[in-house]
């Protein structure tokens, strides 16, 4: 968490999940096709469908990058479903670079 400069918006109880990899995409349909269980999804989309598709694919969690405004109902939905939802003002590139280093020391 501190390595990646993330704030927890929802799903705190599930933060101990194992993260097996990451995927960066702002096309939700692309994550549907290429994301999967254990995957940490980095995206700047803040639409409610991000939560739905993260749950559908079994993603480990979602990092909302770029410090965009996040609708409160998105956080509420993620909390209700126990999905770790994190945010950062850092850009996707930077978060992905750090995450890659952490996963491949």
């Amino acid at each position: 968490m501190e390595h990646l400069n993330l704030q927890v918006l929802a799903g705190e109880k599930a933060l101990d999940r194992e993260v097996e990899g990451g995927y960066c995409s702002d096309l939700i349909s692309d994550f549907m096709a290429n994301g999967g269980p254990g995957c940490l999804w980095l995206t700047l989309q803040t639409h409610m469908n991000v939560v739905a598709v993260a749950l559908l694919t079994g993603a480990a969690g979602v990092v909302l990058t770029g410090g965009r405004g996040i609708p409160p109902e998105v956080c509420r939905k993620a909390e209700a479903e126990g999905l770790p939802l994190l945010s950062t003002s850092s850009r996707t590139f930077e978060v992905a670079g750090r995450l890659y280093q952490l996963l491949n020391p």
Binding site: D26, L27, I28, S29, D30, M32, Q45, M48, A52, V53
Partner: protein
């Protein structure tokens, strides 16, 4: 009930990506040549040429709906249709408040030409119209519905700027009467994207050049040319999609 052969997604020279030859008289002439009785003017994030095309069509038998193609915060394109050019202008004022500040650079994006009914230039829109407004899909739909208009999510079967590509799923309960397919036939689109089944699917050309007009049309059975009648026809599926296979090509 009358059948209207319609193309409800047409850009004018105001859209930077459209040809400068998309003048009001050229659009009307091309629509009449294609045997259309109804079109909609849908420039990117602007309704600045709507009234000019309506005036150019006066007395020709061609009906022109006021519209706009809005690009939402999620980069989703939504065709918004209104009863009058006045309502579309009102919507334009709201959209301009939510557009990012930034000037058009004609050398990169193309020119954004405002015209009169004769096709003479009356000015250039200086703000860049190719951009995402700071409103989400649901916010745009709710506001357009509130102004008495309707929203048809554009080219949902395309890989970019589409509701399905960008959002993965059709948001449940989205209050739109139909979806527009922009590449495939409705049958082929449903086969490729099962999420579309059950939705009324219409087709339109998304014309950026005169030769595009009428390549994908929908024949609507309408009691009158207005939003309420169009909404009824969409919900009852009183329409038929006609695709000109020879011209169904996209740049």
């Amino acid at each position: 009930m009358t059948t209207f052969r319609a193309d409800l997604h047409i850009h004018t020279a105001l859209s930077p990506c459209a040809g400068e030859e998309m003048t009001p008289p050229a659009i009307v002439a091309a629509a009449l040549r294609a045997g259309l009785q109804l079109i909609a003017v849908t420039d990117h994030n602007s309704a600045g040429n709507v009234a000019a095309v309506q005036e150019a069509a006066r007395g020709t038998g061609l009906n022109v709906l006021a519209g706009m193609e809005v690009q939402t915060r999620e980069d989703v394109h939504l065709v918004c249709l209104f009863n009058t050019a006045r309502e579309a202008r009102e919507w334009q004022r709201e959209i301009y408040r939510h557009l990012p500040v930034g000037e058009n650079r004609e050398e990169y994006f193309g020119s954004q030409i405002l015209m009169d009914a004769a096709g003479r230039e009356t000015g250039r829109e200086t703000r860049l119209l190719l951009g995402s407004v700071d409103l989400g899909v649901e916010e745009v739909v709710q506001r357009v519905n509130g102004l008495g208009g309707i929203v048809l999510p554009a080219h949902v079967d395309r890989p970019a700027y589409s509701l399905l590509a960008n959002l993965g799923l059709i948001p449940p309960g989205l209050p739109v009467p139909a979806l527009e397919v922009g590449l495939l036939s409705p049958e082929a689109a449903c086969k490729k994207f099962p999420a579309l089944s059950g939705w009324p699917l219409v087709a339109a050309s998304d014309a950026h050049y005169p030769g595009d007009i009428g390549r994908r049309v929908t024949e609507y059975d309408l009691e009158a040319v207005n939003i309420a009648a169009l909404t009824r026809a969409l919900r009852r599926q009183h329409f038929k999609v006609v695709i000109d296979a020879g011209r169904n090509n996209f740049r």
